[in-house]
Subunit: 303 residues, 2 copies
């Protein structure tokens, strides 16, 4: 029987791709983190990431064109930030319907450009094609000192688990208006030696699980420490994707110092939500009565 | 009155984008050539390009999945080659319908991977999303010595104009099965100092005109020298896009040497099709009676 993509799911397809390209290449990090990492000289690396938004899936044509553009580039900026790197250049590929209002197309680009300029990112190329739905694919290239790059795979038993901002509100408004945590990531890598980092794009539990798998560790979260957005429930905070907050781990001994030095207090919360545990512990969440329980692990599946 | 994209056309939209991002950045070359160029150290540069293919526009679902994948990456490889650079890394972004046959999706990727491997290009990342039509956006990163990069803007009065391969057949079969001229470009930059180069993606006349405008020169082509594909007419050779041949200019004094040294004679023709002229000459074509005439300049418009 013919299998369809929706029968196998997105993860299975990505696993197929990853298996096909396994083996040693010259890249320091290929598929399997927020961005790919390539060495450019003895000290520095370049990082590459691409994120595609499709009308009807990630945004609607009834939404503001500027906000759509902002979201498109911010997803990629968030990926670069989550690697501890600084975004530098962007290529923008646009698929646009012939009958799209010219002003709407211009405003999508304006939204992209405004956010690019805010973060000192240069738009240096791209492609424009005709398509029935609006498609925006943003490729971003960043740079970092090799020693400052933070992968998903470095979390260690005993680390504190931190998350920026508050969670659960993404599906309502945040997913179009979030600020990629470029400045926060910059502060973190300049002042602390993080062990692992990811951005929350699939959902807190799902993305934490990416860190746990890559680092071969477990985790214990505390329900009472989860930073909930206004009018949101715990399950929203656990499973809502497109939050684009930073989720990272840091050795416990630096944890107090980080909290006291955090310079973004007024705009962006910083919460220690749990601890890294040995792998066999798995992923558990302590409820308000102090009892650790296993939680379902799932994230957004495109197919 | 509201203007639609199809009323203003693709070029006008790209001109709008180019105006928005004008001004000096740190990139050596931004929008306006086959790829963007960024300095990575005193001698070397990195080049970036992205090309998006959309089902129904660039290919049909009835065509072979492997060939579609091959075409998708080859367009970007051709862009890097046309800059005189070597492609190194690729990111693949796929928009796929939920109800797409899993095997078809796998075969698209296999087609991409096979061609990537043939040219020693590593696939290091990308994105997968759900969309109604199949969308493939390939970003390729290449490297070159800065002094070897060939822009569109270097053509000089007196240069010979060369084109690889034969022209006119693209719409029939070639556009799915062409070989990006990576090896040929590599040979050219290692052995000669080309003044300008582009790949024929919009059509011979249209792409030559890109060189003429960027270089502020004119050109005289010779009808009798145009390398026609089998069963093709001159107008096919002039205006068919997606040929992905190299079109370049070289000082006349090296022209004989190039023709005699060309190591690909058996597989890939090399034709001197005309001369670069002063800008005020414009673009003319000498017909078989030896009379130079102006030709219409147009290329593919997506909207």
């Amino acid at each position: 029987m013919l299998k369809l993509l929706k029968d196998v799911g997105e993860l299975e397809f990505i696993r197929y791709i990853a298996r096909q390209i396994e083996g040693k290449g010259t890249a320091l990090k290929g598929i399997g983190d927020d961005a790919a990492v390539v060495s450019i000289n003895a000290d520095y690396v370049m990082l590459f990431t691409a994120d595609m938004l499709v009308e009807g899936v990630h945004f609607l044509r009834t939404q503001r064109a500027c906000s759509i553009g902002h979201k498109a580039i911010s997803c990629s900026l968030s990926d670069i930030a989550a690697m501890g790197a600084t975004p530098k250049y962007a290529l923008i590929t646009l698929g646009l319907p012939k009958k799209l209002n010219f002003l709407f197309a211009k405003n999508i680009f304006r939204g992209i450009l405004k956010t690019a300029k805010f973060f000192n990112v240069e738009i240096i190329g791209g492609d424009t094609v005709c398509s029935e739905k609006i498609i925006i694919d943003v490729f971003v290239c960043g740079t970092a000192k090799q020693q400052n790059v933070i992968l998903r795979s470095g979390a260690k038993y005993g680390d504190c688990i931190f998350v920026t901002g508050s969670l659960g509100n993404s599906q309502k408004t945040k997913h179009l208006h979030f600020t990629p945590r470029v400045e926060e990531a910059n502060f973190l890598t300049r002042n602390f030696k993080l062990n692992a980092m990811i951005d929350v794009s699939d959902g807190l539990i799902c993305d934490l699980n990416h860190i746990l798998k890559a680092s071969k560790v477990g985790a214990l979260l505390e329900e009472s420490k989860i930073p909930l957005s206004k009018n949101c429930f715990l399950n929203d905070a656990y499973y809502t994707g497109e939050e684009f907050e930073l989720l990272f781990t840091l050795p416990e001994k630096y944890s107090q110092q980080l909290i006291s030095k955090w310079p973004f207090k007024r705009q962006v919360r910083l919460s220690c939500i749990g601890r890294i545990m040995p792998q066999k512990f798995g992923l558990k969440i302590k409820n308000k009565k102090g009892i650790p329980k296993k939680n379902k692990i799932y994230g957004y599946n495109h197919f």
